[in-house]
């Protein structure tokens, strides 16, 4: 191994320098304010969790978890997402609080380091979870909150795509009967391999009508009218119920006047088993990966012995900043440049200016490397140098 450079960081770790940090924080504040104005209460959980509890309950694949060992040799994970920790908190610290519970978070999450340079192993996520409410109003509220938050950040072009895992499962079961065969097709959907899906369907011992039905699933996407096609394709109550749920989601979103942001795609399949109902992802125009994703996960909380329906989503702050571009110029600052004999006056002046809300840098002239350069980097420079005069002179 070659020697580490002094300035090297572990693979996948990033610094945030002032310009970037400011942008990030502005975006984060706007979103947090939005969460909180909807009554979602922010929580924090530890960075490390047990692999056996939170790690295995998380939606993140095992090989993507950042693992380490504690002193007793137990496997720990750096939290891969916040949904599982929030489920744990809901079932423990908040166990006496009645449902529904509305929680929000802003935190950094971790992924196993990847050899390809530049893939972050740590990034910030912002999200909400609405726990203990299975109504379509809850679905609509959470989707609307995602849209409103993205709108507030100033992102102009984005889209939310909604799918329904329950529908896909019901359709596959309706045609295939047993779950094992459905699992094969689910895997193709999950791997986004439609060619493999069709080839697999072709080789199944099914009537051509059933094969057609399975292949039609791949085409079930578009605007809200897709719901009619989806309904025509299925017979079982479970599948019809799923379409009904989406129909209700549409109604709720119309009440929020946000239904135009939505497209449907019944093949949105982000995880093999985690989600149970609606799922959704958001996309920004100039990004190759989704900005955020979420859905209904009605089976997670029972793993923590407090069964409850729940719906939530997370947004990736780093991707949002990428989509928005660097907008957060470091705010303007005033510099008071003083020589030692006038320090009391300078301190007093700085205090008064700060009270008016200004950002004031107090700088001893003897500590300055290059006065011209210093003057350039501030909006306003007040000199308090040499013998005291009446008032301060502005440069």
């Amino acid at each position: 191994m070659s020697k580490l450079f002094m300035f090297e960081k572990p693979l996948g770790m990033r610094d945030a320098l002032p310009g970037y940090f400011q942008t990030k924080r502005n975006v984060q504040r706007v979103i947090n304010d939005e969460w909180e104005s909807w009554g979602y209460l922010p929580v924090e959980t530890p960075t490390l969790e047990y692999y056996d509890t939170v790690g295995s309950a998380s939606a993140i694949l095992d090989h993507q978890l950042f693992k380490l060992l504690d002193q007793q040799g137990r496997t720990l994970v750096l939290r891969p997402d916040m949904t599982a920790p929030i489920a744990r908190v809901t079932a423990s610290g908040l166990q006496n609080q009645h449902f529904p519970i509305r929680l929000a978070y802003h935190t950094n999450v971790f992924r196993a380091q990847q050899l390809e340079a530049g893939r972050p192993a740590e990034f910030e996520q912002l999200g909400v979870e609405l726990i203990g409410d299975g109504t379509s109003s809850a679905n609509g509220e959470v989707v609307s909150l995602m849209i409103e938050a993205l709108r507030k950040t100033g992102l102009t072009t984005f889209q939310i795509t909604v799918g329904h895992v329950g529908y896909v499962n019901a359709l596959l079961e309706e045609v295939l009967g047993n779950d094992e065969r459905a699992d094969d097709l689910r895997r193709f959907l999950y791997e986004k391999n439609y060619v493999g899906y069709r080839q697999h369907v072709e080789n199944l011992p099914l009537s051509s009508l059933d094969k057609k039905k399975l292949n039609s699933l791949l085409r079930l996407r578009g605007d809200w009218r897709t719901l009619d096609e989806a309904l025509n394709l299925v017979q079982t109550p479970a599948a019809k119920e799923a379409v009904e749920e989406l129909q209700e989601l549409k109604t709720v979103l119309e009440h929020y006047e946000l239904s135009d942001y939505i497209k449907l795609d019944f093949n949105l399949f982000m995880h093999m088993s985690y989600y149970t109902g609606i799922v959704f992802e958001s996309y920004g125009n100039n990004l190759g990966v989704p900005l955020g994703s979420g859905g209904r996960y009605d089976e997670l909380l029972q793993q923590f012995n407090r069964p409850a329906q729940a719906v939530g989503f997370g947004l990736r702050l780093d991707l949002l900043v990428e989509a928005l571009g660097l907008t957060g110029a470091v705010p303007s600052q005033t510099c008071i440049l003083f020589s030692p004999e006038r320090r009391p006056e300078a301190v007093d002046q700085a205090r008064r200016l700060r009270e008016t809300g200004k950002r004031v840098v107090l700088q001893d002239i003897r500590g300055v490397e290059d006065v011209d350069q210093l003057s350039e980097s501030y909006e306003d420079v007040v000199s308090m140098i040499g013998k005291k005069k009446e008032g301060a002179s502005h440069e």
């Binding site: 889209q159 795509t161 986004k192 391999n193 439609y194 060619v195 493999g196 069709r198 080839q199 072709e202 094969k211 057609k212 292949n215 791949l218 085409r219 996407r221 578009g222 497209k263 795609d265 992802e281 996309y283 920004g284 125009n285 990004l287 190759g288 990966v289 989704p290």
Partner: protein, 213 residues
Amino acid sequence: MNEWLTIAMPKGRIFEEAVQLLRKAGFPIPPEFEESRKLIVDAPEANMRFILAKPMDVPTYVEHGVADIGVAGKDTMIEEERDVYEVLDLNISACYLAVAGLPEYEKSDVNPKVASKYPNLATQYFKQQGEQVEIIKLNGSIELAPLVGLADRIVDIVSTGQTLKENGLIELETIVPITSRLIVNPVSYRLKDTVIDDLVERVAQVIGVEEQV
């Protein structure tokens, strides 16, 4: 409203065949278009821009979203495991992956070595076979490896078998048939759904795979 599509493709024969497909599907791509030596070629009549890349890199351009769609061999898809939609089998540039070696090759238990351009794929294959081998990654002219004793077998794509024959190698096992696939970036797949669905449908009709759409 007609959105531009950026399409990543390998240079050479696959590009020509794919452009032929698109023409047959009714996209107005100018004649002699394929003969350009530029890396980026526009076809404004069809609202398309082509990025010409190394075959192995096509899935990378598509995954990162700088290309909306791409044409990639199934071999690179297996090797690279990129997060993209594989929507259509274009049935062009058909070939297959095979294990090859010298005619006198005999299985040996003493640290068998396999050379390949596809280290991930080869590793996967021999794992499935339960065989313990050392994989050596090469970037081309794989046939050299058994000839000079770098490895006793190779994993590579075979189309006619001519290259193997000329170098005195024989095919030992067939791994998997390979064709070119139409792949789509997950975000483009959603944001440009109308244009992409239209293209997929038209191309599917040309290659006569109606049940594909």
